[in-house]
């Protein structure tokens, strides 16, 4: 018996389509590459040097200009700036990611509850979120740090809390938009069960904006962490966090600008690449907006 195969006209899955559109966006791909490099750098920094060398002072070597041994030079305490920057990447990216996950989880619960149940629950939750949003995020984080003291954990908590309302809003609006679509009503009219509607219709379509927001959120968090560390309310020296590196370098920047240019550029690169990825995702998810 002959088994014949039908020439299948490959139907791309939704995810593949989105990836295809994303790839066409050169800026977004650039952002992705830069960000991936940063992640690799953060993960494999130990190949280049250990943590001790990043924080131990080495005064005889201080303030050296870029050379073979120290590609970015050394700071006023003799520490290799490249290594410090790479460890800084590890700190910023990991804290950024963790913060995002925390605020996403909390925000999603609130937003989903508000969107799905609607009515009084929605009203109450959103009023509370509005009040939180009325406080500038930086200040809210500062207040938490003020109460609980400095340190990485408190910083994480403070930043996460300040981002929750934004997530709650995005999740709620994504869910409401999807729920308002006619195809949900159509699914209900066919007799589809609530749980199936949520799983197959609401979640996949609401995912898009949420992922975009999450990406952009990590960028915002990195900025927030470095800001707080800069004024001494976050991660403090000698930990090589980019913000505190900027604060340390400020006094000597006139004659040794590389002390601030390196960490500043690192922050800018990380944030920008994440923003490019986030924007690229947004365009890839809804190409109608472009044309």
């Amino acid at each position: 018996m002959e088994i014949t195969r039908k020439p299948a006209k490959r139907k791309r899955s939704q995810v593949q389509l989105i990836w295809f559109r994303f790839q066409k966006n050169k800026l977004a791909m650039l952002g992705l590459i830069v960000f991936t490099l940063m992640v690799l750098m953060a993960v494999y920094v130990s190949i280049f040097g250990d943590y001790e060398s990043a924080i131990t002072m080495d005064m005889p070597n201080k303030l050296q200009t870029p050379s073979a041994a120290h590609p970015f030079g050394t700071d006023q305490f003799g520490r290799d700036i490249l290594i410090r920057m790479m460890f800084g990447a590890r700190i910023s990216l990991s804290v950024g990611l963790l913060t995002m996950v925390l605020s996403l989880a909390a925000g999603s619960l609130i937003g989903a509850a508000a969107g799905y149940y609607g009515g009084k629950v929605d009203n109450l939750l959103m009023r509370v979120m509005d009040v939180f949003l009325a406080i500038p995020g930086t200040l809210l984080a500062i207040s938490i740090v003020a109460a609980l003291g400095q340190g990485m954990f408190n910083l994480l908590l403070a930043t996460a809390v300040s981002q929750i309302p934004a997530f709650a809003r995005v999740v709620r609006s994504a869910i409401l938009t999807v729920m308002g679509q006619d195809y949900i009503e159509a699914a209900r009219a066919c007799g589809t069960r609530g749980s199936r509607i949520i799983l197959r219709h609401i979640l996949p379509n609401a995912m898009g904006p949420i992922i975009v927001q999450a990406t952009l959120n990590i960028a915002r968090t990195i900025l927030g962490i470095s800001s707080l560390s800069f004024v001494g309310l976050g991660i403090s020296p000698p930990t090589p966090e980019w913000g505190s590196m900027l604060s340390e370098g400020k006094t000597m920047m006139r004659y040794y600008p590389h002390l601030i240019l390196i960490p500043g550029a690192a922050i800018a690169l990380a944030v920008m690449s994440l923003n490019l990825i986030g924007d690229g995702l947004r365009d890839a998810l809804d190409p109608r907006l472009k044309n």
Binding site: P136, L139, S227, M272
Partner: protein, 310 residues
């Protein structure tokens, strides 16, 4: 119209109360004994206990909160642990500085950002569009205080044309405002661009073209007014964010504003100052938002007719 303003002001009250509540709750989580902080480590125990009773520190939470609000309404925000001065005076004297930096920052951001955004939209995908988009993204990816430092490096240290620290003259406000502007400029450029793009796609623009209108006329008469509406709203909302960011920028330029005062207070566990500062800022931000909203009702005919026909 007046009714609308009153209504909005009234609506602000629960928000302010809510904000105060949240901040008060957070700050009450601070470990340590305020009475001890005021009197010092070596003060005798009875004095501490007496002060605690005086200040009502052992009262239940709702009572303490109510008392705080009642005092605040009279202008009494407590006394700084550190300087023993009334908090209100300290904050109020510094508020104008911070406000002005944030205000000028936004002004600059809008003045530069809006035209660039319009051009980017009208000449979509052109060189100007791509360059300005990338430049804006780069600028916004840098923390405001870093931009401030770069400005100092360039203008003060290398070129010597602007003063680096303090607020003695009007010149001192230029760089801080520019730094604040750099944070939001990108947002305005992108918002303007995307709003204009949306507006350009609208049917009424096609109608205008069908009438024989020229491009500049369409952009300025037909598109701009419509695009401005969401942008104005964003300006108001952004102001709160700006005030928050000014904190860092004050640190860079050694400006004796509200922000640096707050940071010092946090470092020294001066709770009343921190609490009052944040509430103040939130109130100012809320008022700005309200002003912008009122402006909006004058610009948008759909809302205007609703409120002025009476």
């Amino acid at each position: 119209m007046l009714r609308y303003i009153l209504k909005r002001l009234l609506m602000m009250i629960p928000v302010i109360l809510g904000i105060s509540f949240i901040i008060f709750t957070i700050m009450s989580l601070t470990p340590g004994d305020p009475a001890r902080l005021i009197l010092g480590e070596d003060a005798p125990a009875e004095d501490v206990v007496k002060l605690r009773m005086e200040l009502g520190l052992d009262d239940p939470f709702p009572t303490r909160f109510a008392r705080y609000i009642a005092n605040a309404l009279r202008g009494d925000f407590g006394t700084s642990y550190r300087t023993r001065q009334p908090v209100f005076k300290e904050i109020f004297s510094r508020l104008p500085t911070t406000f002005m930096i944030a205000f000028f920052g936004i002004l600059i951001a809008v003045t530069i950002g809006l035209p660039i955004g319009i051009i980017s939209a009208v000449k979509q995908y052109s060189l100007i569009d791509t360059v300005s988009t990338i430049a804006a993204m780069l600028l916004t990816a840098m923390p405001g205080f870093f931009v401030g430092m770069l400005l100092i490096l360039l203008c003060a240290l290398k070129l010597g044309i602007l003063p680096a620290t303090g607020i003695a003259t009007w010149k001192h406000f230029i760089m801080p405002s520019l730094a604040v502007a750099s944070v939001t400029m990108a947002t305005f450029i992108r918002m303007t661009r995307s709003t204009m793009l949306e507006v350009i796609r609208q049917d009424y623009v096609r109608t205008a073209r069908a009438k024989g209108a020229s491009k500049p006329l369409i952009v300025f008469r037909h598109c701009l007014r419509n695009a401005l509406l969401p942008i104005v709203t964003v300006i108001g909302m952004n102001f709160a964010h700006q005030l928050g960011g000014t904190v860092m920028i004050e640190a860079v330029f050694a400006i004796p504003g509200l922000g640096s005062h707050m940071v010092t207070a946090v470092r020294q566990k001066d709770t009343p100052v921190v609490m009052a500062s944040i509430i103040f800022v939130a109130v100012v931000a809320g008022l700005m938002n309200l002003i912008v909203d009122i402006l909006y009702t004058y610009i948008d005919p759909r809302v205007k007719t609703q409120y002025t026909k009476r």
